[in-house]
Assembly symmetry: C2
Homo-oligomer: 429 residues x 2
């Protein structure tokens, strides 16, 4: 087992240290790929138990991070995200038990069929191999991401923010205890034990040891990872999500959906940032809706046509159509109809999640087929775009990429499929 | 429609020219994504017709390339690949008609199910968008690749080798005729009309215009593309394929499969390059097999143990275990059993296609589960690893990547899935 006690390591040769983690992970991945669902679930359950029984040690490690953070002037939002409260510790353990309860995706064989040559061809679901997770602030990601990767049979190298290093290493200790209880290699989950930023650069350039990089954090982090990585990245960029209220919308549904998509939570990537309204119904819908938004404290920024319908709205600038506010601010635009709405979404949106409210099946079908986003919805709030709501059980992120996994990425997105061929001495003629 | 007559264009500003192709493609992709299967099939059929009716023009353009090639000292293998014989022209047209006959993957909805919240969640298969194909020599790739991309609803930018530019542009003219007959945008398929190498560098760095790059050609091309591309690449590297003859193999099947996997065709990526034999049966199998290989003119390079069993074999060096010969040469290694065979495949193989010959279901199951290759086979020749043999209809290449498409890539590999959500005014609580 690797030396992975809850202390920051000092290494003069960081590239060498990180490359060794990569070799360890590759070896562990071969064992994990053939580990039984029982062994993996045992490790997840034992990790959950260790997190609960070592609550005091976790809190103590977290206190160190919080104190350092205060000393280094972290703002209160960051300090809040960093904190491991009692309920967050409970949630980590509960999350691991939920992952244990999900079906194991590894080994599933699909589409096995006979070909005219007599061979049988199908596909088998298998782990990706080694997954590198690069994340910021929230220490619970250490447990969540390690749990999802372990269940899907992948080895993991976790690189959290330096501000959370003590918390992350304390959680890593619990994971080590869980792996040991299940007889799985300790190197299945490794937390990078140095805070030097050079470690990230090294991780991104080890394609022989790491199969996929998953960055979780702000735009700056994701852009750096995308730019520097020589390894495929499952990334999640902006969520500039739209609701389009069609001229054939049911007014009551339109009001409910638009209000929910904006106000149910402001800071999430599936929150509506721009509302598009067909001009035929704008006069009937916008004044009511604007009143509700104002009562909720949402600032409204409108196009000239909507400004004419609702008094006291601020004018929207070109930048507002591109904005991911993550705040109680909403841009509103009146459009002629479906085509202009889809043009707007294509031009300004981020291809994350977009919804239409309409009673017309023809327009619903067009919107579903033609809007090129990872989630496209009819008569439902964009806030549903989420791994739990979709029934994936848990998600490692929401991919805005098109290749491989698109939308919420659960266990299946952490696996791949290989072809299997069964014969009985068959040769090619 | 873009100017795309069969002549090489001269552009002083190559980056600007290539970026314009990208913008054209992006626009065409939006139209293609919603084109009906009927329109796409009509375009494919009309292109096939144009290829047949313009046979003389194609031959004339190809003659120019062949003459230039001779003048520039291309070797005979390259000149052969470059040539558009009558039967190759027929094959291009026939290939397009076969693609037209395949089911349209676009719009397929799968897994639509109700969630506890009341929403219905499923996935819809959609085109990737714009695909850049970078290839060498064989002009038939122009028709094959354009056909597959068109059928899967993607716009294509094709960049063939400068040695084939006249042939490629003449084929592009036929495709233009086909698109026009179907009322689809001419920019759906664009052949880069300049021979300057800078055009490739430009294509690889336009992520806003191109969604995926597919390189088809030699190792040098693929390595350059992988290194320089800022766009996801579906790539195909080496095929260092193995057959492992287990100690519980049926001898007759073992002899047939090993012989077929090596000799049915030497130059293909799914040809066996290393034969592994369990030591318990090596004495019974290798002398017979070696005699058959020698009769076929295959040079054998063996490990010390196999040298002791078969007189006159050449000794294999460490490099032989890594070699993709693509020639009548075979490396042979005696191993203790399944574990050593799988270790060897993991260490020296290229994760392309590997086969076991055994009557043991336990060992077959382990080999299928544990060998991490894009195709894993039991009692069948590695030569079956191919889109047609697998029933994919046609392939744009064989991916040795793990993300997205793995193994032969057909129409499905040129698409992605988005989530669709259907509600009836549902909001998140």
């Amino acid at each position: 087992m690797v030396d992975q006690t809850a202390q920051i390591q000092t290494h003069t040769d960081i590239p060498q240290y990180v490359r060794q983690l990569g070799r360890n992970a590759r070896q562990a991945a071969r064992v994990l790929a053939r580990a039984s669902a029982g062994a993996k679930n045992l490790a997840l359950g034992a990790t959950a138990g260790a997190i609960e029984s070592r609550r005091a040690a976790l809190a103590e490690a977290n206190r160190k991070d919080i104190e350092n953070g205060r000393r280094n002037g972290l703002d209160s939002a960051l300090l809040d995200r960093l904190e491991l409260t009692d309920s967050r510790i409970d949630a980590m353990a509960e999350g691991l038990r939920q992952i244990a309860a999900l079906p194991d995706p590894v080994g599933e064989i699909s589409g096995l069929h006979f070909r005219p040559s007599g061979i049988q061809v199908g596909r088998m679901r298998v782990p990706l191999g080694v997954i590198g997770i690069i994340y910021e602030s929230r220490p619970n990601v250490t447990a969540d991401a390690a749990g999802l990767c372990l269940k899907s049979g992948n080895a993991t190298i976790l690189r959290g923010g330096s501000e959370a290093i003590h918390s992350n290493l304390a959680i890593a200790d619990c994971i080590q205890a869980g792996l040991e209880a299940a007889g799985l290699p300790g190197e299945s989950v490794q937390v990078v034990g140095v805070t030097d930023r050079a470690a990230v650069g090294e991780l991104l350039t080890m394609p022989a040891s790491i199969d996929v990089i998953v960055p979780r954090g702000g735009k700056g982090l994701i852009e750096r990872v995308t730019r520097e990585s020589l390894i495929p990245v499952i990334k999640h960029l902006d969520g500039v999500c739209h609701v389009y209220i069609d001229d054939e919308a049911d007014t009551a549904k339109a009001l409910e959906i638009a209000y929910n998509a904006k106000t149910q939570r402001y800071g999430t990537c599936n929150t509506m940032e721009t509302l598009l309204v067909a001009e035929a119904v704008a006069g009937a819908i916008l004044p009511d809706l604007a009143r509700r938004f104002r009562e909720a404290g949402v600032e409204l920024r409108g196009c000239p046509q909507s400004l004419a319908l609702v008094a006291g709205m601020n004018p929207a600038s070109e930048e507002d159509w591109y904005a991911e506010y993550l705040a109680p601010v909403l841009a509103i635009k009146v459009v002629r109809g479906l085509d202009e709405a889809m043009d707007h979404i294509d031009r300004y949106g981020s291809h994350h999640t977009d919804a239409i409210v309409t009673e017309s099946i023809t327009k619903a079908r067009r919107f579903l087929a033609e809007v090129d986003s990872s989630s496209v919805m009819v008569n439902a709030s964009t806030r549903f775009a989420d791994g739990f709501e979709y029934g994936l059980g848990a998600e490692i992120g929401i991919s805005t990429d098109k290749l491989h996994a698109r939308g919420p990425v659960g266990l299946e997105g952490l696996t791949t499929q290989k072809f299997i061929v069964l014969g009985d001495g068959h040769i090619r003629r």
